[in-house]
Amino acid sequence: MFNFEITALGNMFFGLTVLVFVSLFFVPNKHRSVTLYSLLFASLACIFYASDLITLFIGWEIMGWSSYFLIAKTADKQTLQKYIVFNIGGAFTLLGAIILIYGACGSFVYSELDFSAVPSGQVTAITILLLLTLFVKSGIMPFHYWVVDSYSQSNDLFSAVLSAIISKTGVFAFILIFFQIITVQYLQTPILEVVAWLGVLTSIIATFKAINEDEAKRLLAYSSIAQVGYIVTILSIMGSLSLEAALYHTVIHTFVKLLLFINVAAIIYVSKQHRFSTLGGLLYKYPLNFILLVVGIISLAGMPPLGGFSSKFLIYTALLEEHKGLLLAAVLFSSASAFLYCYKLVYGIYLGQPTNPKTEAYPRIPLRFYVPQILGAVILITLGTIPGVIVPMFNGILGSVGFEPVLYRGVFVLGSDFASFNGGVVIGAFGLIFVLILLFFVRLKNRSVKPKDRLDISYCGEVPRADVNLHYGYGMGRELSRIGLIKMILSRSSHALWQRVSTLFGDLSGITQKLYTLSAQNMGLVIFAFFTILLYMGVK
């Protein structure tokens, strides 16, 4: 029943998994369950190395329920219910698709699947079912309902796993199924068009939701949805450069989210606060953590020197190459808006005045929190500077799914015939600017006044009371809601829709339950009536 095959694609994703799990092993956490984590790890290996659909499905389901039990240690009932309904639903659509594929091709093994003789209607049905599965796992709208709550309410260590690895299984399955199994020529282009726009819409909406968020982990969860939205958009282009861009962004996002979630987890660990409105001003307290966070958000925002830029660059060039101007504009819009929440993350936690009088008493961050962060930072810096170290691996994957490899011109250069950049030059230039600015600030610092405590606002006439919140970072982005479109995005939520579905089923259940509480006489009557009706139908 279990059939495995080592592939380049599987290797890449499994490599990411191993790095994430190993680095997370160092992080202290009281909700650690060896059994469940090993089950999860095994299921991921099962997904990435499967050579037939059943093995894939088994891995998928084990992943689903082992994560459920991990989340269940901290999340509330409603979140759990959302998680399980969506994930089991997604798994069942996957099973439905697998069964459809079996009905069409008569096999489960990847290499034996041949869609050349399958009617196009059936292929469309299979595609839609599979896409539903992937959308649920990656949190594409409107199936993102479970994502944010689950990410924010699961324990800090597991949020990182969810965002860094588990959301990527959707990406993996997309690449596996649409690039390798149902190859491009049988796919319906209108569907891909819809997928592309869904992805980009997801990223825009999630970005604004993230900007408006007060809770650090929820912000990161929305950000995760937005980033996976890019990946899905770029994957639906189905070109060699776009696949490369998607893979690149997957790797980058994995480490960015690993870094950021653990960074926030460290802050939550020492301060027991997880809202921006109760954090702030921690820069001098935790400078190393701050620097690592900056590395993370620079990559997240896709700003030049670090890894995020390389992947964004590839995404833009891939879109340009395929002449998807409108999509590109949308991606750029969402990507630019992402700066705002990135900044909110920095400002809300580290800058401004501390809101909490007890800030001084916060303990030191245990060193073990730095292991995954430093790993992430090193990889992000490396990938931004020397993109060439990973391009051969991507090219191998491209080759294995039958695409032309992207041009490879030395370890510093990334890009195609269309456009390229030199990572070494970029980092050199930015390094220079950074040093100059640093020198400027060092000179400036000698002339600045040191405050006595957090309520000492030297340029202001009055002294505030101790309970006044001097930290405004948490309110950032609030003014955006004055803009009509953004207000609409922020005020709408899929909550009402899913709530209505849930109520509907509850009411139906109430009605059907009445059937099972009849008295004995009425039962007899129903039986005789049923018999009579059937008899009448038959005799007639």
């Binding site: 088994i58 639903g89 509850g506 059907t512 059937l515 009849l518 008899l535």
Partner: protein, 464 residues
């Protein structure tokens, strides 16, 4: 060696109760071990048939082919498990007196290939079930038992009507000769016979318009006994019904009707469980739902689907035994089976058992329920019935909702009581859980046997 021993020995054990009143529980275990031995003895001699008392087709015939062997060994296994599980209950002689006869009734239903004899065993199994329902000896139990008896009597009347009509027309009672002559009967009578059988067995196999009694009965029944109803009784009736149907070679529209009824039954039962506030009722609804799936799968007349259904029967029996027995432990401690009570216990072992049971019932890998569901769906896919595949999956999602609601209720609520599971119970329940895991990981041997059995079932009885 005679097949009648399967029936005679448990009855003998019950008749002789006065001689070992206080040791009946040990005798029950011995009887079940003996029966298991008989089953093992007959395994290498399959298929075989035996005439009772008179060596001619005029007599009663017992048939042990692949499919009836499957059910016989399943039921003996369940009853052996039950008797071992409750071996420490000293003051509960009545249970063992009745369960022994219950065993022979269920085994007789499976083995017999003579419709009047089937009716007798139908009654034996039913009456023992009525008594078992009333074993709690309180108001709820008695009213449940009486309700069960009334509904059961209606079922018996209809079954008897069908049998009478067949005998009137064909003059024989053996299944094989009835199967051969069924289509020579008047069309209207054919229809009436099938309808009577459907009503008679439909009530007992707990299928949609006829199953409204089930939830109340399960709630009135002692929890451990409810496991037997779910694992043995309904399955026995289900088998006999389809055994007769396939022997009569009913035409496609009738089977399609049963498929539709099964699907509807599945949907309604799972929906009802969604809002239920009592765990025992939820398990009852889940049983109804699974029976709906079985009904719809068994009526497909496709070897793959039917073999999947047989696999599902086994898996469902194991899971339900596990769940009801664990619930019994919870009930003993919390004195209630309400969801709130279920949420309040603390026991990592029981929680794991519940989780495994739920996951297996939902058909989630790597547990055995998945193999069953996959086989059924594969079969439907090869028939091209994608609508059914979709419906099964969609309804399973509803099932998942309430099972996981229970799990999260237990995980996220304030715990009020710690349950210490006795060693014997712990071992027995772990054995069941391991069996589910084992069958989920290495299903091939059993699947092959199920395929043989499915072929035999679809063929119908063709002996003599």
């Amino acid at each position: 060696m005679s097949l009648v021993y399967f029936i005679a020995i448990p009855i003998l054990a019950s008749f002789l109760t006065p001689f070992y009143k206080n040791y009946l529980r040990f005798v029950s275990v011995l009887v079940n071990i003996l029966l298991a031995g008989f089953a093992a003895f007959f395994y290498s001699r399959l298929p075989l048939n035996e005439f009772i008392s008179l060596d001619s087709p005029l007599s009663i015939i017992f048939i042990l082919d692949y499919v009836s062997f499957f059910f016989v060994s399943l039921f003996i296994g369940v009853m052996l498990f039950f008797s071992l599980y409750s071996i420490k209950e000293k003051n509960n002689t009545a249970v063992f007196v009745v369960t022994n006869i219950f065993t022979s009734g269920a085994l007789g239903l499976i083995l017999s290939a003579d419709i009047f004899n089937i009716y007798i065993f139908f009654e034996i199994a039913s009456i023992s079930a009525y008594i078992l329902t009333g074993l709690n000896r309180d108001k709820v139990a008695y009213s449940g038992a009486i309700k069960y008896m009334i509904v059961g009597a209606v079922a018996s009347i209809f079954l008897l009507l069908g049998i009478m009509l067949m005998y009137l027309n064909l003059g024989y009672l053996t299944l094989s000769s009835i199967g051969a002559g069924f289509h020579t009967m008047d069309k209207g009578i054919q229809y009436l016979v099938l309808l009577s059988l459907f009503i008679g067995f439909g009530i007992k196999t707990e299928i949609l318009p006829l199953n409204f009694w089930v939830a109340d009965i399960y709630q009135a029944t002692p929890t451990k006994i409810a496991a037997l109803f779910s694992a043995v009784l309904s399955k026995a009736y289900l088998f006999v019904f389809f055994h007769i149907l396939y022997t009569l070679k009913v035409d496609a529209p009738a089977l399609l009707f049963l498929t539709a009824i099964g699907l509807l039954s599945f949907a309604v039962a799972e929906l009802s469980a969604l809002r239920s506030k009592d765990v025992k009722r939820i398990f009852a609804y889940s049983t109804l739902g699974q029976l709906g799936v079985l009904f719809l799968a068994l009526s497909s007349a496709n070897v793959v689907v039917v073999s999947g259904a047989l696999f599902l029967i086994l898996v469902h029996s194991i899971s339900k035994l596990m769940l009801f027995f664990s619930l019994d432990l919870v009930e003993k401690k919390m004195h209630s089976t309400r969801v709130e009570a279920f949420a309040g216990f603390r026991s990592a072992f029981l929680f794991t058992i519940f989780a495994i049971g739920f996951l297996s019932l939902l058909g989630i890998p790597p547990f055995a329920g998945f193999i069953a569901k996959l086989t059924i769906l594969k079969g439907f896919a090869s028939m091209g019935a994608y609508g059914i595949v979709g419906a099964i999956l969609a309804i399973s999602l509803v099932e998942a909702t309430y099972f996981f609601r229970l799990l999260s209720a237990n995980q996220r609520s304030k715990k009020t009581a710690e349950i210490k599971v006795p060693l014997l119970q712990k071992i027995m329940l772990s054995l069941l859980a391991l069996a589910i895991l084992y069958l989920g990981l290495f299903p091939q041997g059993l699947l092959d046997f199920c395929t043989d059995a499915a072929q035999t079932l679809i063929q119908g009885v063709i002996h003599v």
